[in-house]
Symmetry: C2
Subunit: 242 residues, 2 copies
DNA sequence: AAGTGGTCTAGACCACGTG
DNA sequence: ACGTGGTCTAGACCACTTT
């Protein structure tokens, strides 16, 4: 066992910056000093500064907005993918401001992978909705939704900047039964990264939700691409009775 | 709109390496060429090579073993945190080899944060178990478990290299009722990184599970530190009847 | 001892965002 | 126009693992 742990320069810098955040000297959404400024301050190269910053980013303590700078990350929001009370309300219950923006909506033919997952016949028309969601005016996720139009004709004529499930419930009396959820850490491809105003290859949490109704018919599939440091997933489950 | 998307050198290198993996030229657990060798091959600096490698690591396509090299990552395993059929069996059902190793087990006083989460009186004795789990001989997670000894006296005298829940069920007739699960992307601290033979600050998925029995009494809390590219979380939930 | 990744220096130019 | 991060070069030394 070593008496003294050797800690790389970039980790020491990380520690000092982390301190400023934890001690409240820098608050959520504050801009950090420029990289060049930090490199002078600590008398190290910009490369090393960036190593420290990237580390803090991976931890979720800071985030960057493409070419605008580094900022102190706000607290993660709790997110329960098994609930459907509406994103905006859910987030605002936690004291944040939330907003949804519809990027596109159209009727498309179900792609092959979707058919395989849901049992829909290939080529069946489905609604495809693309939305971007903000927390405190920071774009935090993009979601792509496929809805089975069978029981909700005319869905796209409604505003989709609100809770989709509230809409499905109130206008179409649809109710989700079982949800199959999948998620794993990933990175953002160029297209989605751009929509979130971050770098290609940025760390993310990918989440997919497939939802059927009580009769076992496919209702909705939802793919969410989250900034990895924006959320904490919480879910409460009871084991199936054997 | 640009006709041609400009792609950085390191992303082009990433693409070429990713191709070798996707096309099956390199197989799971194969070692990649040394960084210096790659930098010669592509006629770029080692820095740029590393940028490509780090990118692939973030995507989960490759992993590194501290100072030993870069390797093609095997497929993620599916992991359902709501089930308790036993890690080893669960993983082997998917065609992998799994192994569990107990790093330590002891009776400790419940730390404050544990009491706050579970409602246990502070200082109550609880079993603390530290385990490391392997998939195909690659250490993939470390878990720290706290068990309420109230209904399972003598637990630590058993071998803990097996399914804990099988043990609790068979020897103590304990059955989990509701589970509260939390998870989010994080990084590994120095201690855990070392136990997984990876670098400090390595990307991970943190998962915490709190489990009570039918009477609402605290049974077990489990903290898992996963290599971020080792798993895909899958969970199936039914919404509570309102 | 040799080879590997891990860290770090001291620069440079570019692309984009903001005033 | 200027400041910012994004990318890249061409080296160097260190710490650890493997042979």
């Amino acid at each position: 066992m070593k008496a003294v742990e050797k800690r790389a320069v970039y980790l020491k810098v990380r520690d000092q910056l982390a301190d400023k955040i934890h001690s409240g000297i820098w608050l959520a959404n504050d801009k950090l000093p420029a990289e060049r400024q930090l490199s002078e301050q600590f008398d190290i190269t910009r490369v090393t500064v960036r190593q420290a910053l990237v580390q803090l980013e991976a931890e979720g303590l800071i985030f960057r907005a493409n070419r605008r700078g580094w900022f102190v990350a706000p607290k993660r929001i709790d997110y329960d993918p098994s609930r459907d009370i509406g994103f905006v309300r859910y987030v605002e219950d936690q004291g944040f401001h939330a907003r949804t923006e519809t990027l596109s909506k159209q009727l498309v033919e179900a792609p092959q992978w979707l058919s395989q997952l849901t049992g829909l016949a290939e080529g069946t028309p489905v609604y495809e909705i693309l939305r971007r969601r903000y927390i405190n005016d920071r774009p935090c996720l993009v979601e792509k939704i496929f809805v089975n139009p069978k029981h909700c004709a005319g869905l796209l004529s409604h505003s989709l900047n609100q809770s989709l499930w509230e809409l499905l419930r109130q206008h179409y009396q649809l109710e989700p039964a079982e949800r199959y959820i999948e998620m794993y850490p990933q990175t953002l491809d160029a297209a989605i990264a751009q929509q979130l105003n971050v770098n290609t290859g940025c760390a993310s949490l990918y989440m997919r939700r497939i939802c059927h109704d009580q009769q076992g018919e496919f209702l909705e599939l939802d793919e969410e691409f989250w900034l990895h440091n924006a959320l904490k997933v919480v879910v409460s489950v009871k084991p199936p009775k054997p």
